[in-house]
């Protein structure tokens, strides 16, 4: 099969507005225009349009559905690639080898792609836009990234982002699209299984039920939370779900804890979160996938008891299969605009977190335990220091009062500390913390400590430690580490508690773990604030040494 490619310049408004018609792409949904806006915002100046593209996803849909219809449908898709520079020079190159090498040379300029399906009601198969180019605004954090290799004209390209697909209303709804987006991210980023949309449908509807069989094909108009959970389990995820409580009299949704805390914690852990938004006037609701956050540059003055870094989030970035990538979902109802029809506060009915296996403790419970632990540790700090002084060899220096290790930290109530709780790999925690600005005695213990696959970490800062968007200028004073496989009761999940001037480690001998339970603590006179975790950083070498 010949696979012709076309290329062109995207410079003027007219170039963008006529792009779809010039390429003879029909779009009844309007999503394509939104994606064009996104690529234009990312700096696209040129495109290559690849025809006759065989898309694995659409091939699966064609095999399961379109090939069974009376009316014939085409199997072949096309793919539209965007670059941040004019690529029309490729058309003037005299040899094929020069063309392929020319595309190779533009790898750094690649901004991503849109797979166009041959169905006018839902043309967007897959779209991935280079996340780092979506915005240069430092207030925007895109938490969920995976690399997508692309083979074009014999060249190898790559884009890092989060995928979008459009619901194909003939066979699925936004729920399947949301499952697909999360599932594809885990496939590309974490080695999870590859699932086509028909396979997701099959998993969601097995066992089937009366509700989803109100439409044909079953499940093509909506799914229930149960259906979504079944599909996510088939994708090797272990979802945890939290629901709001509807206050029907006042048409309000009541959450036990603010939903932004839940969403922010898991996004901060690099895990996309499915959000169920209520429909208008009793209509079917809408599912989107949260992939990032928009942060304000200082803690709001209204942050009350037990503030958290979720209070810094003004919007969540969501991939919405009907509206496009990185749409801004306001957290607060007061921030609703015409730009997006929902807000988290008014409209989020449930959040669903597709966790990996070996996580047996939710983020809100980890945060509750961590808060309790740090309050208890601060209250008893002098007891640990007194004991350290008592067993010190004669002639040892004197341990001063804990207050002198960090007067700012101990000058506020622990309940006023700002918490930031996230899930991370034990080995990543260890790698980061050994390269952070913690005291050497603390690192000496960490060096020999074995960790479970996943740990919950809660960082604690003062309100003023979190000003600005520069991660190097933000400060952490204390942190708690919990075993994500541990029990939520009895303190069995405790691994590490660290406050200025004191750190406590729970230990055991693997040969006899119950009888050998022990404790190690380290008391020091000096302490300095250290760096918060930064997504994608394994160390803090890029921060200036004298940064405060």
């Amino acid at each position: 099969m010949k696979s012709p490619a076309m290329l062109g310049v995207l410079d003027s408004d007219a170039d963008w507005s006529s792009l779809a018609s010039k390429l003879e792409i029909s779009d009844e949904s309007g999503l394509l225009k939104s994606l064009f806006d996104t690529f234009r915002g990312a700096g696209a100046k040129g495109f290559i349009y690849e025809r006759g593209y065989i898309d694995r996803d659409f091939s699966a849909a064609f095999s399961a559905f379109y090939s069974t219809l009376f009316r014939p449908y085409l199997k072949y898709c096309s793919r539209l690639h965007f670059f941040d520079l004019d690529v029309s020079d490729l058309s003037g190159l005299p040899t094929a080898e020069e063309v392929t090498r020319g595309v190779d040379a533009k790898a750094q300029n690649y901004l991503g792609f849109i797979v166009i399906r041959p169905v006018v009601h839902a043309p967007v198969g897959t779209a991935v836009v280079a996340a780092e180019r979506v915005t240069t605004d430092p207030s925007v954090i895109i938490d969920t990234l995976a690399s997508y290799p692309v083979h074009l004209l014999g060249a190898d390209l790559e884009v890092a982002g989060f995928p979008l697909t459009q619901q194909d209303t003939r066979v699925g709804a936004c729920a399947q699209a949301a499952i697909w987006m999360a599932g594809r991210h885990f496939h590309m980023g974490h080695g999870g299984p590859w699932f086509s949309m028909p396979a997701i449908n099959e998993a969601a509807l097995n066992p089937t039920d009366t509700l989803t069989t109100r439409s044909l094909p079953a499940g093509s108009e909506f799914l229930t939370p149960d259906n979504i959970v079944r599909a996510l389990r088939a994708l090797d995820r272990h979802p945890v779900v939290q629901f709001a409580r509807p206050d029907l009299e006042n048409n309000k949704l009541i959450w036990t804890k603010p939903p932004q805390n839940v969403v922010a914690r898991y996004l901060d852990s690099g895990i996309p979160v499915l959000i169920g938004l209520r429909g208008r006037d009793g209509a079917v609701g809408h599912a989107v996938v949260a992939v990032g956050r928009v942060m304000v540059d200082a803690m709001p003055a209204t942050s009350g008891n037990r503030p958290s870094t979720a209070d810094l989030v003004s919007h969540f970035l969501v991939n919405d299969d009907q509206r496009g990538t990185h749409q801004r979902l306001p957290v607060a109802a007061k921030d609703r605009t015409d730009a997006y029809p929902w807000t988290l506060e008014d409209d989020a009915l449930w959040v669903m977190v597709p966790l990996p296996s070996k996580v047996f403790m939710t983020g809100d419970i980890a945060e509750e335990l961590s808060r309790d632990l740090i309050e208890g540790f601060v209250d008893n700090a002098d007891k640990y220091r007194d004991r350290a002084q008592a067993v010190a060899p004669a002639g040892s220096p004197t341990l001063g009062p804990i207050l002198s290790a960090d007067a700012s930290f101990y000058g506020v109530s622990p309940s006023a500390l700002v918490s930031r709780t996230y899930l991370t790999f034990g080995w990543k925690y260890k790698r980061r913390v050994l390269r952070n600005r913690l005291p050497d005695p603390f690192k000496a213990e960490i060096l020999r400590t074995q960790f479970p696959r996943y740990v919950w970490v809660t960082e604690y800062s003062l309100l003023d430690d979190l000003k600005g968007h520069d991660p190097c200028s933000r400060k952490v004073r204390a942190h708690i580490v919990l075993d994500a496989t541990g029990s939520k009761f009895f303190g069995e999940s405790n691994l590490i508690a660290q406050i200025p001037g004191l750190s406590l480690f729970w230990t055991f001998d693997p040969a006899d773990p119950v009888a050998s339970r022990g404790l190690v603590w380290r008391a020091t006179n000096d302490a300095e604030p250290f760096h918060p975790k930064v997504r994608g950083w394994h160390d803090f070498d890029q921060c200036p040494i004298d940064a405060d």
Binding site: A173, A175, A178, L211, F222, L223, T224, P225, D226, I228, V241, Q242, F243, A244, R245, P246, T256, G276, R278, V284, G285, H286, L349, W350, E368, L369, R371, D372, L373, G376, F377, N380, Y384, A388, V391, A392, P393, P397, L399, P441, A444, E445, L447, R448, F489, F490, G491, N494, A497, W506, T507, S516, R517, G518, L519, V520, W521, R522, A523, T524
Partner: protein
Amino acid sequence: MDNGITSLDDLQCFGRVEIKSRTEFEEFTLRPSQDAVRAIEELESASIVSEQRLGTFTVG
């Protein structure tokens, strides 16, 4: 050791305490307070009640 195999530095130093006895462990360990246990139980029960009301909410 004198067999050419070395180990990392001895961790014992000023300010370090290591305890292994059961009695001392119980004295110095930190366990969730009654307030924390109650808060966790409330979190979990609230979630179950909500789920019963919204289990058939559909998205499409």
